[in-house]
Amino acid sequence: MPLSPQVRAALVRIVSDRWVRAASAQLETFARDALPTARSIPGIVVLPGTRDEVIRIIRLLAHHEVPFVARGAGTGLSGGALANNDAVLIALTRLNRILEVDPQNRLAVVEPGVVNARLSEAVAEFGLLYAPDPSSQTACTLGGNVAENAGGPHCLKYGVTSNHVLELEVVLPDGSVVTLGSRSGEPWGPDLVGLFVGSEGMFGIATRITVRLLPTPPSIRTLLADFDDLTTAGRAVSAIIASGIVPAALEMMDQVCIEVVEASIYAAGYPIDAAAVLLVELDGATDDQVAAEGAAIEVLLMRHGARSVRAASDAAERARLWQGRKKAFGALGRMSPDLVVQDAVVPRSALPEVLDSIRAIASHHGLRVGNVFHAGDGNLHPNIGFDRENPDEFERVEQASAAIMQVCIAAGGTITGEHGVGVDKRRYMTDVFDADTLDGMARLRQAFDVAGIANPGKVIPTHACREWTQGAGRHV
């Protein structure tokens, strides 16, 4: 049901006409996030500039039982920030202030629209950084990171977003405001911060986020190892994990990715004849420590089949190696009009077999798949190039994605490690969770949002929780 004129008028009264988007051309720009296979035009878009405006908006929508969807930069890869025409899309990019930096207690307080990389830039003068570093960190917002429990290459050693969020101010779907957690990170009662992070906008909107900062490592060493085949590279990953040395990051790229990166402006000097490269980063307190650990890893890589291993000689080369990795998604965009960036996690020891299976699936469906991923976490990102204007190819992409998910689940893995479920992965939820567990998730959702108006239609597969949907919330 389209939104009523009264709701629109009330929204204009809260934020002024300037910050409400209702014309179809304007709405079209909010019809997608970074998931190319889904599209939905919101009923209206509102861009609040203060937390008080967010509170007033949600109270208004709660009063009228109007669904709403929070959105950051729109870089999400699971369709989590898509809104239907009966819903209000609340874009939070104007709430972009860093409210406080407390270097002594190593924390910062930010609004949800602050861009991830901007926080690390802002605290660098104190010798600190914000550890979670998604590949989209130059664009994605911390509010979105909280909603999705975002990860990134350096989460291998330092943990994902939920390991770094200390306290949250949250506007619940009924418009009430609660503060969860504390500045020390100690929960105030049950761990509601841990529960909220990764709830994909279905428990409310975080308006103030207190995060932990880490000291910038005094010494860093980045290694590049290349391999003749993916399977050998996968085994080298397992060997590193078992060694007791925890790299800050351990990333892998396959031949498809190497080729497109090296052919792009992000060329990093990866050997183009390699079947796979591993990027291993070590950090520590002193150069001697990092050099010793680097030497140990180098020996280990060579023993496990690396053709060669080289260390970045200076900061510029390190930056270049990382640029190739972080911009690989952009480079892959050159191989086709559209790109699905899949996300799944498998046990690290299963990487070689799963990578083989993915190759076979791509071949079976006549698709080109490039793998660039967080090997140390077993977090795969098969990238499938396609043209959305080609219905046959689109269908093959959907089938290949489903087949990849099934392979990962069969290997003991899960369907998403950092992109979230959104609309894209709902269909697989019953493959990894039984009915009682899904029902438990629905109960959680209901405890936060009785009316079911916060980001409805995401995460929980409706058909698996029929009893709950009949008995309770209007939206799921």
Binding site: E186, W188, T414, G417
Partner: protein, 399 residues
């Protein structure tokens, strides 16, 4: 309902081979061998409105006296999944923490959680979220838990999380279960992320004035050292304090960290000859007193918080994790003094958790006391969602 009838109903649910005994007070203690029978007990208890308590190894918290039945998970005490190459383990809730640690060591794996107390069970450590000094370098209990099975108050089994090290599929029921003292259900097994056994592990110790040691600890952090533990503690807060610095890394890493510590702090550090015993004794200390409190404190507020604890609670075993900032205090279980302290701590935005206390005191104090505005209602809704008839006897908030 008569005791005989309750026992008869329980017997019908769990079968002939499962032990049902009379425990302290009037409670019947039942020891289910698996999660399905645990869930079946809870389903029946929910239908009958029986108050249910849970006991772990009995070494940390006391059994609830007003439960009609007490579930003892000690028959669920196995490792059900262990992959040393992927560094993941699933252990049942009744397993002794020390047994789990020993099993992992046999496979070259290690779980960097050093809970306070002795002879703790896996379920107890996770349900109470009781991390020890290693929290400084490795995070809280919740940071190591990948998955858990939770038997809810209406007898459903939630299999939350997974066996892989990264997972954002669905809502994080694992976080809800960890550290909630069983308010939302009974944990029957837990999947942990492991580490390889450390290559080098050294402990440095300095003794002296509390604030001087604390300043030294801050200096160590400012130099960029990342110690596994940075713990300031005292048996008697009016006497000398000890700063324990535990360094875990490669040989080169530990040497580098030792140099950093020596360069940062102008203190005569000694290397502990038996670090393992030192930290084991540290963990056991809080059991010498009847009550244990955990206080969340940002690092730079530690001096004020330690002063407040000394003033409000009186003497006791006190141990501060300098980073990220937490204090564990064990001392007399004086309800009035704890209430006053909690009130003062709330004004300073320091969350206080009563980790353990005699049962009658805990019933008055609650583990978490009072919540911030709006949070109590949310917790109430969550408890109702997972325990619709309120059968779990968990004094999560103050009476």
């Amino acid at each position: 309902m008569s005791d005989a009838r309750v026992q008869q109903r329980l017997r019908a649910v769990v079968g002939a081979s499962v032990p049902i005994e009379h425990g302290p007070g009037d409670a019947l203690v039942v020891s289910p061998p698996d999660d399905h029978r645990t869930a079946a007990i809870l389903e029946t208890a929910s239908a009958e409105r029986w108050p249910v308590g849970v006991r772990g190894a009995g070494t940390w918290s006391s059994q609830q006296p007003n439960a009609l039945i007490t579930i003892d998970p000690s028959e669920m005490a196995d490792v059900t999944y262990l992959d040393p190459s992927d560094l993941v383990v699933t252990a049942q809730a009744g397993m002794q923490w020390s047994s789990l640690r020993a099993t992992l060591a046999e496979h070259g794996a290690w779980l960097p959680i050093d809970p306070p107390g002795e002879r703790r069970s896996v379920g107890s450590v996770v349900a109470t979220g009781t991390a020890g000094p290693l929290r400084c370098g490795y995070g809280a209990v919740r940071d190591h838990v990948l998955g858990a099975t939770l038997a809810t108050g209406d007898g459903k089994l939630m299999r939350a999380g997974s066996k892989v090290v990264k997972n954002v599929a669905g809502f994080d029921l694992v976080k809800l279960a960890t550290g909630s003292f069983g308010a939302f259900g009974l944990i029957t097994d837990v999947t942990f992320r492991l580490r390889a056994v450390p290559r080098a592990d050294a402990t440095l110790v300095a003794r002296g004035n509390r604030d001087r040691l604390l300043q030294a600890a801050f200096a160590i952090l400012e130099r960029g050292a990342n110690p596994a533990a940075l713990e300031l503690y005292a048996d008697d807060p009016d006497d000398d304090w000890i700063l324990g610095v535990r360094l875990i890394a490669t040989d080169e890493g530990v040497q580098a960290a030792r140099d950093t510590v020596a360069g940062a702090a102008d203190l005569p550090f000694e290397r502990a000859t038996d670090g393992a015993t030192l930290w084991r004794d540290h963990a056991a200390h809080c059991l010498e007193h009847p009550a244990t409190l955990r206080v969340g404190v940002p690092p730079r507020a530690l001096p004020a918080a330690l002063d407040l604890i000394r003033h409000d609670l009186g003497p006791g075993w006190t141990s501060a994790t300098v980073f990220p900032g937490a204090i564990r205090w064990s001392g007399a279980s004086d309800v009035d003094r704890i209430k006053v302290f909690r009130h003062h701590a709330a004004h300073q935005e320091f969350p206080v958790t009563v980790e353990r206390a005699p049962v009658d005191n805990l019933a008055v104090l609650g583990h978490f006391g009072a919540y911030r505005e709006g949070v109590g209602r949310l917790i109430g809704s969550l408890r109702t969602a997972f325990d619709p008839h309120g059968i779990f006897v968990v004094p999560e908030r103050a009476a």
